[in-house]
């Protein structure tokens, strides 16, 4: 279990993490979701005692990470992909980690097998692809067979097969009773992997709920209306107090009334309709909507369709 209370980290005037509270429970995969720069990696570094919180605290299994005698046997972490010396072999990297925490040497070969790197264990990691580096990072995380597993952006650089492998691994670890905490900026990936979501933006927790609740609550829907007289239809619907936005030439997106009621309303007025469709917004869109105000570095062009206000 990981518990943060009032956890805060400031860099100069900027609050990277702004007094957040959360609990990561064992037995399920918790997704830590947020756009780049939202505070995910800073939070994870504080969990691991690498960065000192400006205020508040975070504990693992009830104590600070730094107070563990053999932290790798309590918490396994995949840090940013390349926390490795490029000149060292994968086996040597695992060997020194094992020795540092009194983990038997046979675990090194065990985790190399587990992640599928046994054939390249003697190679220098500088020659590894991004995906192989990620697999080695996951081997590091599992080395001490820890009850808490923290993975920072584990699917970065992995091919589809690798992504599926990480997803299944995370679920297996959670099913075995472990605490699994995975950060990602990909909503779609977390929707498939995580049981519980912790959404962070600009250093604040925006949502802390089960994945299914998140989908039900945040995936907004709208009605797509096409008409040869879009201006008149828009005026009519706006007069009813509905939320209408115009896209392309003849498409209106309407929120506030269901499709049947909109059809009746337009029909009564004698205007023509060419299309009337209920559109369920995707989860990615829901995530974008939720974090829209908290994106640190956004491009100046407007985002794709679907982000109905």
């Amino acid at each position: 279990m990981i518990a943060a209370r009032g956890l805060t980290k400031t860099y100069g005037p900027k609050k990277a993490v702004d007094g957040i509270d959360f609990t990561v429970e064992p037995g399920r995969v918790t997704g830590f979701l947020g756009p780049n720069g939202a505070g995910k990696s800073t939070t994870m570094r504080m969990v691991l005692g690498l960065d000192r919180p400006t205020a508040g605290s975070v504990t693992v299994n009830g104590h600070r990470y730094q107070d563990s005698a053999a932290p790798l046997r309590e918490v396994g972490a995949l840090l940013e992909a390349r926390a490795l010396h490029p000149g060292r072999s994968a086996r040597d990297h695992l060997r020194w980690l094992a020795v540092s925490n009194g983990i038997p040497a046979r675990r090194v070969d065990h985790v190399l097998d587990l992640v599928g790197l046994e054939g390249v264990a003697g190679q220098r990691v500088g020659k590894f692809s991004l995906g192989m580096g990620q697999r080695l990072g996951i081997a590091v995380a599992l080395l001490g067979d820890p009850p808490v597993v923290v993975l920072d952006e584990p699917v970065n650089g992995l091919d589809p097969e690798g992504i599926r492998w990480v997803r299944n691994l995370a679920r297996e670890l959670a099913a075995g009773g472990r605490t699994v905490f995975i950060s990602s900026h990909l909503m779609s990936e977390m929707a498939l992997t995580a049981d519980h979501l912790l959404v962070i933006g600009r250093g604040r927790i925006l949502a802390d709920c089960s994945t299914s609740d998140f989908i039900a609550e945040h995936a907004a829907s709208y009605v797509r209306v096409r008409s040869p007289q879009p201006g008149d239809v828009a005026d009519l619907l706006l007069r009813q107090g509905l939320d209408v936005t115009r896209h392309e030439d003849d498409e209106l997106r309407v929120q506030g009334l269901d499709a049947a009621a909109i059809g009746e309303l337009v029909g009564k007025s004698g205007l023509f309709l060419h299309e009337l469709t209920l559109v369920r917004s995707s989860l990615e869109d829901a995530f974008m909507t939720l974090t829209a105000d908290s994106v640190e570095y956004s491009a100046t062009t407007t985002t794709t369709a679907g982000t109905a206000r």
């Binding site: 053999a70 046997r73 060292r88 472990r178």
Partner: protein, 273 residues
């Protein structure tokens, strides 16, 4: 999927685990140290420069030294190559620390061993042990090679002559001290090129230039610069008459290294990784 909230004992699945202590940290640092090529190259470079250049300079100067025209003591040449071997000690000391910051490895290191004092102590122990052994061995090799040339011209200096053993073991001590100084500076600036520049400039450039300062205080600053204070212990007879005596000089050097190391240790404990 949820609901299976089993509290897992950290020690359950890994039979044969031992409670790790400082010796684990030292052994881990030892594996890290010797599993990258820069370590082996630095040590090889130290032996080649330190012993090789001593042999070369004594080989080419022995006749002149024996001729009676020489204004230098032959004994001053017996550890001549160590002046250049210093560079490798500085490089190795710097890399032990800055390579971890350059690659992000430091986060893996501190995640494995959060007790930062233990990490620093283990790194220092591995580094100084290696440099002391390699430095002393290099100095002995240089002595035997160089003294063979001097012997051939009848001006050989026996191993038990005054200051010889002190200079040979002193060479190892000085290499260890320089490595530690470089590691401490590396911990403060966390950047290979910056740390190397600072220490090399301090020892080789600033140390020489301050002797140009006028008056007694200029002379004293010169004597107290780390490179000038620490290096006389490595020479049987010093080329530079202005420097401190070997052991007082080395004491000054040790105090300076210790001071930088303490500052580095405080910074290491307080800063984010």
């Amino acid at each position: 999927m949820t609901g299976t909230t089993v509290a897992l004992d950290p020690n359950r699945n890994v039979p044969g685990v031992t409670q790790p202590g400082f010796s684990n940290t030292v052994r881990a640092e030892w594996i890290k140290f010797w599993s990258v090529r820069s370590t082996i190259w630095s040590v090889v470079a130290m032996v080649v420069l330190g012993a090789g250049l001593t042999a070369l300079v004594t080989g080419t100067s022995a006749e002149w030294l024996a001729s009676g025209e020489a204004d230098e003591s032959p004994a001053a040449f017996l550890t001549w190559g160590m002046m250049f071997a210093q560079i490798t000690a500085i490089v190795l000391g710097t890399l032990v620390v800055t390579s971890e910051y350059g690659t992000g490895m430091i986060r893996a290191t501190l995640a494995a061993t959060p007790r930062r004092g233990a990490v620093l102590a283990a790194k220092a122990l591995v580094l100084t042990t290696t440099l002391f052994v390699a430095g002393t061995a290099t100095a002995f090799a240089g002595y035997f090679a160089g003294n063979a040339f001097l012997d051939a011209h009848g001006i050989g200096i026996p191993l038990d002559a005054d200051g010889v053993l002190r200079a040979l073991f002193g060479s190892g001590l000085y290499m260890a001290g320089l490595g530690l100084l470089a590691a401490a500076v590396g911990l403060l600036v966390r950047h290979t090129a910056a740390a190397l520049s600072i220490v090399l400039a301090l020892v080789f450039v600033v140390g020489t230039m301050v002797f140009l300062l006028p008056g007694a205080w200029g002379e004293w600053i010169g004597k107290l610069m780390p490179g000038n204070a620490g290096s006389p212990v490595t020479a049987v007879v010093s080329f530079n008459p202005q420097v401190l005596e070997p052991w007082p000089g080395f004491a000054v050097f040790t105090a300076e290294v210790a001071a930088v190391l303490v500052v580095a240790w405080i910074a290491f404990r307080r800063r984010d990784a």
